[in-house]
Amino acid sequence: MNMYVLLKRTFDTEEKISISGGRIQEDGAEFIINPYDEYAVEEAIQLRDQHGGEVTVITVGSDESEKQLRTALAMGADKAVLINSEEDLDDGDQYTTAKILTEYLKDKEVDLILAGNVAIDGGSGQVGPRVAEGLGIPYVTTITDIEVNGSDVSVTRDVEGDSEKIKTSLPLLVTCQQGLNEPRYPSLPGIMKAKKKPLEELELDDLDLEEDDVASKTKTIDMYMPPEKAAGRVLEGDLSDQVKELATLLRSEAKVI
């Protein structure tokens, strides 16, 4: 099975965010593979070990994304592709990223594409379905289970807590939800091997794309931090009095019940 995993480099979930000059400050921040994309990498590796084939991880980003691609290779992916858009593009949106990925994938032999269901930074969850539509293949989002049998695929999908059992077929794109698997940590031999695995670097030119072809359709005009919450009140006294006071406060002061 020929599999591609769409991967994004994101801030570590433990990082605090700060904004300067209308942009997120990246200096000194730790970066990781978007956690939902990690499920995609893990699932692709497991499916390859079960059915054979090859796993290629692919990202649109800058030189710095190489680290996350190497991590995916160390987990067990076979090849990596970095589409470096840094020099060509100032700002892109989901349209931009999906267009670039679609252009790269359109002449590849694709059986299964796996992606995270959402990235924890931008949080739009658009790129997977957009790429599937661009390639003319079906997709299933937020999956928690997948079984492949020949070209038949059974998928379980999380829908706001309910589970949908879906039948579909390859070629297919899926986006991964928590609960799908437990991503492995790269082993030391894995990390050594990853250094020698192929990592191809491309620019928009190599995909015959001009800047205008992928120009974003939306524009961020401002970024700001939510207002800091004033310190709350920790209640005091007998526990039973505290409970009564809380119920009264929620009713008459906060007016939420």
Partner: protein, 326 residues
Amino acid sequence: MSKKVLVLGETRAGQLRNVSFEAVAAGKTAAQGGEVIGVLIGDAVSSLAEEMIQHGADRVLTVEDEKLGQYTSDGFAQALMAVIEQEQPDGILFGHTALGKDLSPKIAAKLNTGLISDATAINEENGEIVFTRPIYSGKAFEKVVVEDGLLFATVRPNNIEPLQKDETRSGDVSSVSASIKDLRTIIQDVVRKSTDGVDLSEAKVIIAGGRGVKSEEGFQPLKELADVLGGAVGASRGACDADYCDYSLQIGQTGKVVTPDLYIACGISGAIQHLAGMSNSKVIVAINKDPEADIFKVADYGIVGDLFEVIPMLTEEFKKVKAGSL
């Protein structure tokens, strides 16, 4: 610059979801004095059209087909594209629900347009429509505009005030025909886990448990409190990782981002990744044994104590309050 805006009405168990009325209200702002057209897609949905109009839609278009009884991206996309071709709208709005998240990028890709996902506010600023949306799971916010083409967005439940229902409003309801075919994904079965029917993303009250809940059974008092308040139960990553509950309940940067009116955090320490998922709730109550827990820093009200002692007392107290308010 009045515009024509389509708003997709979404149903759950045969009823329109609140988020659809919120999307209609957003549609009013987006239309800038123009027309808001409700769109209903399903096997039998035309009876809901009137309610959409009463909540602010000027008219409603329905697409009905037996193949649309259950949501599939192919089926609903074919139905919606038939409406879009007929109406040539300037804007489209969905709720940012499982359906909205699944369908909107497909439509945006078909139309070659941008899409602003998960908006929590929509405003007109100097004649331009500006959407506000959380980034980094609510650790920060951005304001986004459409640069080119269709105004297309999904709105997060519980954030935009719906319009007052007006039963005297009337409007045209007509059907659009679409040929629904070649569905490439087939739903074979749906297993319902959320038994009480209150979904986390739309819940007005959430009772969330963390590691302090200690076990699967430990969630029982939280469920009882949620029942009394008509709320839903959520969890921190700690509780999910420890297998006390299903991952579908997880709130945080990985997991769901929620903004209920009332969030009661029980035995949750308040890791930054959890705070990202709930700190924009309107009122936060923290119950924790550890007075130094970070959760108290974002809480409006806190009780330092054992949740297994406090929660049942709260449940009794709220029962009394509720009974008194009738």
